[in-house]
Symmetry: C2
Subunit: 225 residues, 2 copies
DNA sequence: GCAAAACCTGACCAGTTGGTCAAAATTATT
DNA sequence: AATAATTTTGACCAACTGGTCAGGTTTTGC
């Protein structure tokens, strides 16, 4: 994508008072990006107003436009942050790792993400639902080639006799759908488990259920299976 | 919910020219509801404008307000339609049916839904992502009690030794997530399979992959499993 | 055929929106 | 200390938004 994500500040002590050139820009951009992620997740693209984002960030509206220009540029920057966060996630799937361990680890990591950064997941889900107008290139290039790479890993696992053949696109789709569901549809799942908020145990049980279905679906052992 | 869904017109021949009292109301409400589902799915609640809905329906904006009053009432009517459509969906899960057959049928039916009415799914997904402000009661009452009823069916299957125990809430969550993903994230899946639009075969393969994982995850037979 | 009910709609309105700008305040550089 | 660069912000604007309404047209019931 285009905009650069929030970078680390100067590697100083963990002191509040940062100094040096650009530290104001750094702080305010982060404030705005965080606020924007919240508002975009809660209200959708069109529903989010720059005024609401500014208020949540504790800055005047004109300041938001000073740093990001337009609402659309800010939205792209938020998406950039999310995609950067998600991109390296598939690293644990390698040819010589154990399929069951690798897939289970990946699923559990994705569930942790759903618990810890549900807002990011919701912004992304919103973007997909509305047709991925700002993410077309990412999907057709970065994500597609990443999936292609990882498909070869799956094929090698199959060739090594480690697992049954499974269509990789559908496998990833199911894993992503199931794990992100706990972020995007949190309100529905919460209602069904009868709690105002899901507990850590709820998320763990969700992860184990998904792991169980995926592993057995791939002809791998899980529990009694 | 409150508003009534689109009802069947008088059971006449399949003629275009309907007559009789209320036929105008019937026709225009359907036109507006269909247009509204499209616009709400594409733009989200806030992004959808009554003007855009009216234009898509081929009617002046004031006409939309004549039939539905407010944008919010129209949105609730659209949601009503969707929920009514989805409510009777779980009927095939009964105590004396075969778990493998019943679950497989249900998953395949849900995938058909994702293919044939993706817009409805997207409106619902959007509503969940944004916190289900208009659907709280449905979630906590109708859906929760329905899931509770169906949980007893699952428990009876387990008691009959037909399948392994599985947490019903997570099982349904995974099924819904995986199947609806093909409607909500259609643009992403399309990009990954490398087609502008998914084919019927793509949907069938998706369904079979989900069925395979769910059945084996429940300790049921599927293919070589 | 006629009155009542239902339907239609252009014109209008008050509130909101993303975005601009110029002048002031602060921070960085020399 | 002086100058340059960056940051801050209230005031402003044109476009758009959901919603209203009065007066007209069509459909319905009898």
């Amino acid at each position: 994508m285009s905009e650069t994500a929030a970078k680390e500040g100067p590697a100083r002590e963990a002191e509040k008072e940062e100094t040096g050139p650009g530290h104001i820009r750094q702080r305010n951009r982060t404030l705005i990006l965080t606020a924007a992620e919240e508002i975009f997740a809660e209200q959708g693209y069109r529903g989010a107003t720059t005024a609401a984002i500014a208020e949540r960030a504790g800055l005047p509206k004109a300041n938001v436009h000073y740093y990001f220009g337009t609402k659309e540029a800010l939205y792209r920057a938020v998406l950039d942050d999310i995609l950067t966060l998600w991109l390296g996630e598939l690293d644990r799937l390698t040819e010589d790792s154990d399929p069951a361990d690798a897939l289970a680890d990946y699923i559990r990591a994705k569930i942790v993400h759903s618990r810890e950064r549900p807002l990011a997941s919701r912004v992304y889900a919103n973007e997909m639902i509305r047709g991925a107008k700002h993410t077309r290139d990412f999907l057709k290039q970065d994500l597609k080639s990443l999936v292609k790479t990882k498909s070869r890993v799956l094929e090698s696992w199959v060739a090594q006799g480690k697992m049954e053949p499974v269509d990789p696109v559908h496998l990833f789709s199911i894993i992503w759908a199931a794990t992100q569901h706990y972020a995007d549809f949190e309100v529905q799942v919460s209602a069904l488990v009868g709690r105002r908020q899901m507990t850590a145990k709820d998320y763990d049980e969700a992860a184990e259920t998904i792991v169980r279905m995926v592993l057995r679906g791939c002809g791998l052992n899980y529990g009694k299976g």
